[in-house]
Amino acid sequence: MPIDILMPALSPTMEEGKLSKWLKNEGDAVKAGDVIAEIETDKATMEVEAVDEGTIGKLLVAAGTEGVKVNTPIAVLLQEGESADAAAKAPAPAAAQQPAAAETVSAQPQIAQPVPAAPKSEPAADPDIPAGTEMVTMTVREALRDAMAEEMRANDDVFIMGEEVAEYQGAYKITQGLLQEFGARRVVDTPITEHGFAGIGVGAAMAGLRPIVEFMTFNFAMQAIDQIINSAAKTLYMSGGQMGAPIVFRGPNGAAARVAAQHSQDYAAWYSHIPGLKVIQPYTAADAKGLLKAAIRDPNPIIFLENEILYGQSFEVPKMDDFVLPIGKARIHRKGNDATIVSFGIGMTYAVKAADELAKEGIDVEVIDLRTIRPMDLPTVIESVKKTGRLVTVEEGYPQSSVGTEIATRVMQQAFDYLDAPILTIAGKDVPMPYAANLEKLALPNVGEVVQAVKTVCYR
């Protein structure tokens, strides 16, 4: 039977790529291991190798095609004696190759995709963006880069440092072009020591500069947590107000895909525990841009939690000379009357998708994007709960002492009389993140759980 050659995932988080070049033509014989094509991802150019021996029957995707999804058939490989016509009739391979494994979660239909794509529906208008402002589409990655570049142009004291930020343009390409524009004095590759360069940043901030410290991931910043908490967060207080640390610690946070226990942790709840810090976790590109600019200008130490999976997602961003958003203000992402979902960061992807599904069943959900975890905009949440009487929180972090349990406590204390049902908190499972795709999916929250939770609080 002809074999479909599928678009491979060349890195754990790759979802699509550009098929830049074919190195084999239709009719060419290939051996296993032959390089057949080149693929560009957002990280690098990679070679695709043939899995089996055969003859290239058909090239299904033209060279130069962008946005080819992982696992799409890109070519057909013919075995001896087969013709290209047979290839056209060949069934899709995926279903046939997946044996039913009773113990795996793939057998559980209610488990949805862990990371739903960005929603198509427009977010509710942000009152901080003037009506009629022209919008441009950009990825979260571009928005973050632009925010830093704009602030670096505006203020010579702003600089960025971290591992791979200069020559490599960022491990996740967030600092693309910054070295070229601002030079090695302001875009600094550091040695591999989060504890070390977080401390350098705190020192530089105390000396009057405005450092942006990029952590390759917040998982690595565990090493730096003493500098962040015991020094950055507390020095203004301990020095009697004499010296503080205006500094931004930013980088990807939480689970990406297939990076397992040590690289998949959500630190929102951890940092939000600490007085002296502000903690931001944006979802949209507009919020990423407006809030990062605000963070760089803020006189306090800021934890800015990004997400690797969101980096490549596109959103509308206002085209303004200086688009800055207020820190500490939630945004109503979608208006509704029957129940409230509060989330932040990538948790919003589950919330938004669940709201779409619930709408089909006649449940009109209000979705609030917290955007800032500390200071927390509880009034916006309470206003919504007064209207809906029902609340579900969604986050990827662990269930105990989570952001959701904090919200639940405060809403219970301040709006008890308005609640028509117990508040439900959706979080990740209480296990270190496994590597295997099926287990990872199971360990994270999913849209089905959010839908079910909203129905439960609505007694449906």
Partner: protein, 410 residues
């Protein structure tokens, strides 16, 4: 030094970047056999010069020369060559498997095979390595089954780590291979702690710490040296200097110090630099350090000087930050080729035998791969059990995890 009104920041830069001609003229390479071999119980202070040289055994012609030669029998050397060839073949198959979508991620050893393969032969059962992600030769040379390594890489239903860990972050306690940490540096200090425990228990086992040139910047490295020095822990402190920490050249972590090995001098720890592409030299130096540790002589720091000929990982494209032909210009050559030449020169090996060994090894690796793929790969076949996901969070499963497992329907 001229007096300036204003200060300026020094940022080290590699000699060359993509498009430039490779240049390793800064790497001073002494002749093979020219570096002295101190007694295993010599005072650390008496061998400070060794931190600035490179111990080499095989010369350009392939002869084993000098005081460090002769630590292995002929059969052991042939076995060593086969281990390196196996590791290389294993890497090739797994890189291909990654490019075919059978796993999400892989890290190869190309050019660095001698270090982990030769080092393991200096250890004894019961000793413990605290490896990084580029020491799979410790497992290959230690006789760990390749199929188990592949099951881990494929995260299938026979994965010894039950689908919990990133590909290549193996764990094999029975084979003296501590679970690899994805966060760098953390295990350097743990290896020292393990060695101190062995001494406290009055055992006979030693440990080996592993770190890359880049991660020596991490605080853990420095803390490890303090403890190893103070308590004279029976530990071998390995630094694999492969010149590149992803895109960051070794000068960023090394800064103004002459060598990474010299980091040990301030702590009074004997520090040896060895030609990491010379299987015989790596073994001799490792053996020296192991013997010293076993005789209660305390820690030794070894800097293995090598070159990462491949990409950092399958997510990396080195052409963005270094000349493509740089690895060919690396002056210490290829470890497999060098040992092959040595054995051939001595009449213990031949082109013919090499080809035959290559074919045999390839067949062994492919057989292991087929067996592993029968259990499944990332996208197809058997998956780790969802039931197991809730195990081992605690030694005994608490009630709330039992509840979560029940809710998950597994």
């Amino acid at each position: 030094m001229p007096m300036n009104d204003r200060l300026s920041l020094h940022v080290p830069e590699p000699e060359v970047r993509p498009g430039d001609k490779p240049d390793f003229s800064r790497v001073e390479i002494p002749e093979a056999g020219s570096v002295r071999r101190p007694p295993e119980d010599a005072e650390a202070e008496s061998m400070r010069d060794l931190a600035y040289s490179i111990i080499r055994v095989m010369n350009r012609d392939g002869e084993a020369v000098g005081p460090w030669a002769g630590s292995l029998s002929d059969d052991e050397i042939i076995e060593g060559l086969r281990h390196m060839m196996t590791l290389r073949a294993f890497d090739q198959r797994m890189l291909m498997a990654q490019r075919q979508g059978k796993t999400s991620f892989y890290m190869q050893h190309l050019g660095e095979e001698a270090i982990s393969c030769a080092f393991q032969k200096a250890l004894k059962p019961g000793d413990m390595n605290f490896p990084t992600y580029r020491q799979a030769g410790l497992l290959i040379a230690g006789g760990y089954p390749m199929v188990d390594m592949m099951n881990q890489i494929y995260s299938n239903d026979a994965d010894p780590l039950k689908g919990r860990q990133l590909p290549v972050l193996y764990s094999a306690r029975s084979h003296g291979f501590f679970s690899v940490s994805g966060n760098l540096g953390t295990q350097y200090i743990q290896a020292v702690g393990w060695a101190m425990a062995s001494a406290i228990r009055q055992g006979t086992e030693i440990s080996a710490a592993w770190i890359g040139d880049g991660s020596t910047a991490a605080s853990d490295f420095h803390a490890a040296l303090v403890f190893a020095s103070t308590y004279r822990a029976p530990v071998i402190l390995n630094i694999v200097n492969n010149q590149w920490a992803i895109s960051t050249f070794q000068g960023i972590a090394r800064g103004g110090s002459g060598t990474f090995a010299a980091r040990g001098l301030g702590f009074g720890i004997p520090a040896l630099r060895v030609d990491g592409n010379d299987y015989l030299a790596v073994h001799a130096v490792s053996q020296w350090a192991a013997n010293r540790a076993r005789r209660n002589g305390g820690p030794t720091l070894i800097e293995h000087v090598t070159y990462r000929a491949g990409a950092h990982s399958t997510s990396d494209d080195p052409s963005a930050y270094r000349p493509k032909e740089e690895s060919n210009a690396w002056p210490l050559g290829d470890p497999v080729l060098r040992l092959k030449n040595h054995l051939t020169l001595r009449g213990l090996w031949s082109e013919e035998r090499h080809r035959q060994a290559e074919a045999e090894i390839r067949a062994e690796v492919i057989a292991a791969q087929k067996e592993a793929e029968r259990h499944g790969t990332l996208h197809a076949g058997g998956k780790p059990s969802a039931r197991d996901m809730f195990e081992d969070v605690y030694a005994e499963m608490p009630a709330h995890l039992k509840r979560q497992r029940q809710q998950a329907g597994v």
